[in-house]
Subunit: 555 residues, 2 copies
Amino acid sequence: MLDLSAHESTLSEAVAANAARTFYAHWPEAPSGKIYGETANADGETAFKAQLNAPFTRLLQQGDGTWVGEETSPYGFPLGITYPASSVDTLISRATAAEIAWRSLTPQERAVILIEALERASKHFFEIGYSTMHTTGQGFVMSFQASGPHAFDRALEAVAMGYSAQAGFVENVTWSKPMGKMSVTIEKSYRIVPKGIDLVIGCSTFPVWNSVPGMFAGLVTGNAVIVKPHPAAIYPIAIVVAHLQQTLADCGLDPHVVQLAVDTVAHPSTMDLVLHPSVRIIDYTGGPTFGSLVEKEGMAAGKVVYTEKAGVNCAILESVDDLDSALDNLAFSLSLYGGQMCTAPQNIFIPQTGVRVGNDIVSVDDVAAKLREKVDALAHSEKVGPSTIGAVQNERTLDRVRAAEALGLEAVRPSGPLAQPGFDAARSVSPLILRADRTQDTVFEQEWFGPISFVISTESFEDALALVDRSIRTHGALTTIVYTTDPAKQERAEDVIVRAGAPVAFNFNSYVWVNQSAAFSDFHGAGCNPAGNATFADWSFVTNRYNVVGVRKQA
Amino acid sequence: MLDLSAHESTLSEAVAANAARTFYAHWPEAPSGKIYGETANADGETAFKAQLNAPFTRLLQQGDGTWVGEETSPYGFPLGITYPASSVDTLISRATAAEIAWRSLTPQERAVILIEALERASKHFFEIGYSTMHTTGQGFVMSFQASGPHAFDRALEAVAMGYSAQAGFVENVTWSKPMGKMSVTIEKSYRIVPKGIDLVIGCSTFPVWNSVPGMFAGLVTGNAVIVKPHPAAIYPIAIVVAHLQQTLADCGLDPHVVQLAVDTVAHPSTMDLVLHPSVRIIDYTGGPTFGSLVEKEGMAAGKVVYTEKAGVNCAILESVDDLDSALDNLAFSLSLYGGQMCTAPQNIFIPQTGVRVGNDIVSVDDVAAKLREKVDALAHSEKVGPSTIGAVQNERTLDRVRAAEALGLEAVRPSGPLAQPGFDAARSVSPLILRADRTQDTVFEQEWFGPISFVISTESFEDALALVDRSIRTHGALTTIVYTTDPAKQERAEDVIVRAGAPVAFNFNSYVWVNQSAAFSDFHGAGCNPAGNATFADWSFVTNRYNVVGVRKQA
């Protein structure tokens, strides 16, 4: 076994960070040569280019002889990478065999091995960044951060949560009960019994960030994990799986503790895996329709199912101290990765009387016009526009923009093509903002995933809050943001929105955006509304992945 | 608000005990006047007798005008007590109203209020004991212990677990992210959002012990609780509910945070409560058939369902140092409360070559004969027999004894009527032990709840272990006990049984029995076999009862 004792302090720090929830990051978020090495960017790009149009041979898992792969960059070229494909039965039987030794390790042994794998993979953040950019369409800096340091911090957070939960009881104890003049003694031990194989189903927009919490939570609690990425975004998570497998092998363990399950759009394997009786845990991130099916079928078969789907995220603008800083913040949230975040705001409710700014009132029209200015400024900026907005992952998202344009609503801001320098064939558009009335709820009370948002005038603040309350309860939400300077309205909004089961942010006007959540501090998702039942990472995200079984021996 | 700060040290001790799992008891188990007051027994008996044939007026909840009650003592007389009945809608609407203030308290505030209620109710352990004896049929000492100190320790354990889980993250924090020369600061809080109303469905054999873990876990995590006892065993838990309600009222809270839902066998309300959309958590203890229905319907409706049903508990006798002490222990386990414990052994597997005792081999016939002697000695002891075996709670259990007798199997020990001094009409019988062969698995591989067990000869130790493995996986088990002095066989049995998902005890030969589990040390149930998905009390027993929702404010 390697000497992994150095990772024990990392684990302790992460455990403490989870409890304290102050700012903590194990991996710096800046894609900087000073941090990651002066040649790291060039090395990453070279590795990325070398991988194009070639089989991905880094996995320690044999396929069934077939190599599949159909990834295409949203920036306009096919990746041409193939991955070894295995049948569901092969994946399951390998996982079942590999799990035996893995579950016999202590939680701390598992945790430090997983941290070692993360440290190794972190040396490849730039390749992970380029591969994320050219599968998801995110700009490079976001790709680097979301799939690199931010994702890895979420993975470490899950390792620490899972370790903490298991360490919450002693592993064994001598129990001695006083009985008058005598006593009776029993030697007890408490064995962690993992539920079984954990299937992690990934999505095409956040193939690493959204997958690693479930992967690492499943692994640290002793389960074998099968990672089933979206066929459009395999490369970034394949790098992570490869480093996990190599680390396991270097520790003398079966690398099949974690496996990559690749498939194609034409021949999907997800439901076969979901329904396989040996799969006992499912982590799903992705669209709500398929996610609800996975929830239903999985739960009916008695499996533990964690979902992070999507909902309809709302904003309310009632009053602000400074309209410019508020709308700068909101415009960035609408623009970042072209609204392709499950956390991006969609519906912006404004009382029809306008927004109070200090002692003034700014009309809904004027607020909408200023919001357009802010998005325009961002989208038209050669320096930051293309990289902030990125490219559109899926052609159907573009279709959705066309459908929204055809609704006949007034455009606060029309969507237009966006040039991505160096990538003439990129699929990229700027945000569309439509104007709606509160009576048009059948239009806006559904998810319009992508660069589509609505400015909606309401009768009052209370009316807006009632619409948000109903929307959260009916369609779910991963985020909510409210702008109000009135303490009573703030308290009222907090109570209503929290009670409805969604997180809420107030008056963001700086360099934190509602669509971003910080590992070790913010819970991602609430787990108590239709947008999903999982939270990265609360106790229930780890405690349902194993049982504790008692062994008692007469002393 | 009362000054409850004295309970903070009780809470701290219980939190520490849950982690350390050494012997810990907050309430002494001896029904002794030296501990509980010289008049406590007489006072309890007086209170019990005064309650007979009278309405139970201690609840702070109005009924709909109807008073119902049909409890009958298994010792042969009707209790004649009536309780205020409320419609399902009334119970739900009161719980919904009461929950608002309850959820706004901090976890620590809830915990100390619950401990105050337990302390108050503990002054009535003797009345709780008599009421348990005359609803369940347990002997008095067992009634006192199981519904008094042992149950209350389980309740305190659940309070401590729920408090610990909620205290695992700070309640609020100032988060400051360094960004080069500047930083951005967000004020964050983490709000506990209880799932909703927790329905606790009780059973007739352990109306307090089996109900309080779910009740107190639900309450400490901020949920309102509706306690639905079995119509045959309302009185003991009604005392606990009354003290909870009075404590809540004395703290200025709505007593309807906890309510008693009474019904009758002819007009049951359980499924109406289970299916009510406002019920979000269900704690079920009782028979497997109805329990599986509650699980299925509850989970299909998206509720959190905790079950503690029953299974088929197995024993293996392979080798012992001292056959007498081993069989004394086993005979007591078979006899205690006439086998009416979900933890009592049913199937005793012995290799057909006999049991090795030191250097000798004792044949299966001789082991069976000695087991009979041990049970006879206990059953025929005027001093301990009647109180150990107690009375039969349910007429159908007696029918089951008759059905077992009619199987045509050789009786190792026949069942016979048992006199209960002072109660000539008591429904009481001594244990029936039948002899079976491993091929008669269709007979013994089902639950024979009550004073019915089987001595089954197997081909070998491995054969016995294979049968136990299959039985746990197919029918579930709450306990397993194995007698072997061979370390290799012990290790092998531990691996197989723990992997199958059941707890295992080895070589018990003293004053600890496999059917008893100690609060703060033993987990009751494993939660990972068909006998139930709940464990008193691991993390998942508390962490699924609430969510944590983040609130972020720009600083």
